[in-house]
Symmetry: C2
Subunit: 419 residues, 2 copies
Amino acid sequence: MSEEITILGKQAKAAARQLSQLSNPQRNEALFSIAEMIRRRKNDILTANMEDIQTGKELGLSESLLDRLKLTPERLESIAAGVEKVATLPDPIGEEFDSRVLDNGLRISKRRIPIGVIGVIYEARPNVTADIAALCIKSGNAAILRGGKEARRSNRALADVVAAGCAAAGLPANSAQLVHSTDRSLVRALLRADDYIDMIIPRGGAGLHRFAVENATIPVITGGMGVVHIYVDKAADPANVVPIVLNAKVQRPSVCNAMDTLLVHRAIAADILPTVAQALIDAGVELRCDPRSLKILSDSFTVQSATPEDFDTEFMALIAAIKVVDSLDDALDHIFAHSTKHSEAIITEDYAAATRFVNELDSSAVFVNASTRFNDGGQFGLGAEVAISTQRLHARGPMGLKELTTYKWVVLGNGQIRP
Amino acid sequence: MSEEITILGKQAKAAARQLSQLSNPQRNEALFSIAEMIRRRKNDILTANMEDIQTGKELGLSESLLDRLKLTPERLESIAAGVEKVATLPDPIGEEFDSRVLDNGLRISKRRIPIGVIGVIYEARPNVTADIAALCIKSGNAAILRGGKEARRSNRALADVVAAGCAAAGLPANSAQLVHSTDRSLVRALLRADDYIDMIIPRGGAGLHRFAVENATIPVITGGMGVVHIYVDKAADPANVVPIVLNAKVQRPSVCNAMDTLLVHRAIAADILPTVAQALIDAGVELRCDPRSLKILSDSFTVQSATPEDFDTEFMALIAAIKVVDSLDDALDHIFAHSTKHSEAIITEDYAAATRFVNELDSSAVFVNASTRFNDGGQFGLGAEVAISTQRLHARGPMGLKELTTYKWVVLGNGQIRP
């Protein structure tokens, strides 16, 4: 165990105990204070960020990485506004539920409480520092944040502002602490600090998620990876097909709820595929086709032949795999074999097909006649999104503030003993 | 990855897909069929168990271990009746909740579904084989069971009966599979089979739990360990103190919700401690006292001096540590420093003290004027108990059938795309 992690862990645990006892107005006051500090110390943060950008350029970071790293006055204002928005969300803490009175008179209920200390490991984008700190504080949790080394000056400036905002509102300055060392071995130490940390959220690519799962002794929320399927049933309303497929693929191709594989029932493949292909190709999408879809499309369009790996790939880009299937069963079997359990959609007007698709699949979200792009905390009305979970414990799909809570049983008696 | 685990894992995944689509009556029919098979094949099971007992005696197993291992006609009947009782519990699957209609007309809800494949690692008691298989089947999950090698013949006989019962009712015979090899390295392989298993439940001592946490790449439900506190406040009703403390310590000292440490407010320590000590000592409890309680008790009673370790020990025996505290704050600080977050109780008639105790502690169950022995699935009315969780994700305290489920988001649209 690294000494830095032990110190941060002890401080976080002490802060968590204090945070769990604060009222919603007190937690909100800290968020408003953080937002104000972000605005007041704008120049410090932007200067730190410029230094990160300068170092990044010298190290030859890609343009897209530099763009994710970059803070502008507008982006900083949007971060501050985001922190304020979290303050306006309903308090996730304190609700009692599943209450009952036992025959012996004991009154029992579950009470929603913070999880405790949440460890978050993320990559380039410095806005995560403020976003996650705000979500954790709102839900009464302490946070330990480990950002990417490319953003270390920006993250430090933002973490200082978060600490100052907390302190100004009477919250522990250690409510959301940044791991300062950029030593990679600290990530492993963080993942094994189960004496101090109750949950790990990795925000990054598949490699980070796998590293966390392999090394953590703390429960990890895994997710964010999606090999996403849309199945166009033989009873699809043709008017729905192009809009939904196009939206799911091209509206934001770099995200996890974008479509990767299009499955089309053979009965309508010859009719519908050329129209769909035209729309996708016009939008700049490269199509990788199984033999049957290739046969339908290759005369009129420039398309590729799909490799077996294409059907297990999250493209994160303007690429789609296409396969013709014989039946709904065939589609379900393909999805069971290739899905990462993120999001799957069916386009159909057939009640039985829609029902079977929804009943039989077990992905985090299953859609009928709607774009998979809706699998998102904001779209689902959660107010905020902490992560998207594709694991099966604790939370599935978009995680909001409620998913940053747990519960304890409260048992009120007047002398009951167990017979 | 061991070949046996890979084969079991693939079969379990296929079984889980089938199980998830069965109706509650179909799942129940399998449970009744298993119960009937247990009765019909009673002699086979008892013969296998006698061989285990014989081997255990030759290996010099302790009397208490041999007793936990032993099956009798009565115990077998109670196992069969337990399986039938699980069938009569409400179906935990299928409920839709948190439903809403979004402004764009999308109808979204969470639907409760089985977790998938559950791995259970347990020690000597062969009844766990039938109990856990029944709970998993009832909740639509497939199970992979790894019992202790002392019970291997008994477990195999019970697993055969479970498979036969499933098959007779038209369920996959692989619904609940036993790991046959008793090679210890298979436990590690099981813990890392995240391609096939969705959740691990270790049922055993602290060593097994720690091994699971250290080695698993699958989410682990940890729990069952409890350093349990009762705090006798200065405003305690003396009539409540002896009954609750005695019940919590001696009613079943070998379990995790039994009291380990008694904290007493200094204002009433001299009055109440001798009565409590007398009752505990009469019940055969050894008392390990901090300096202040030692001073009160040592003239009249044979008591020990507590070591610092005693206050971090789950005794699982007729032993209790005693400490005099200066205040409620002192008690809370002691509990925060030493609790394993299992169960804690306060005895008081003071509203503010009871409220602070309940609000400020974050153990899986907090009690006012009641015995900690109630922290139990049966007592809380869950109908069955899968495990007691002291971790903070997914489930806390007693886990019933509902805690063997997860959810998926079901999103019903008519052509919606994301703007």
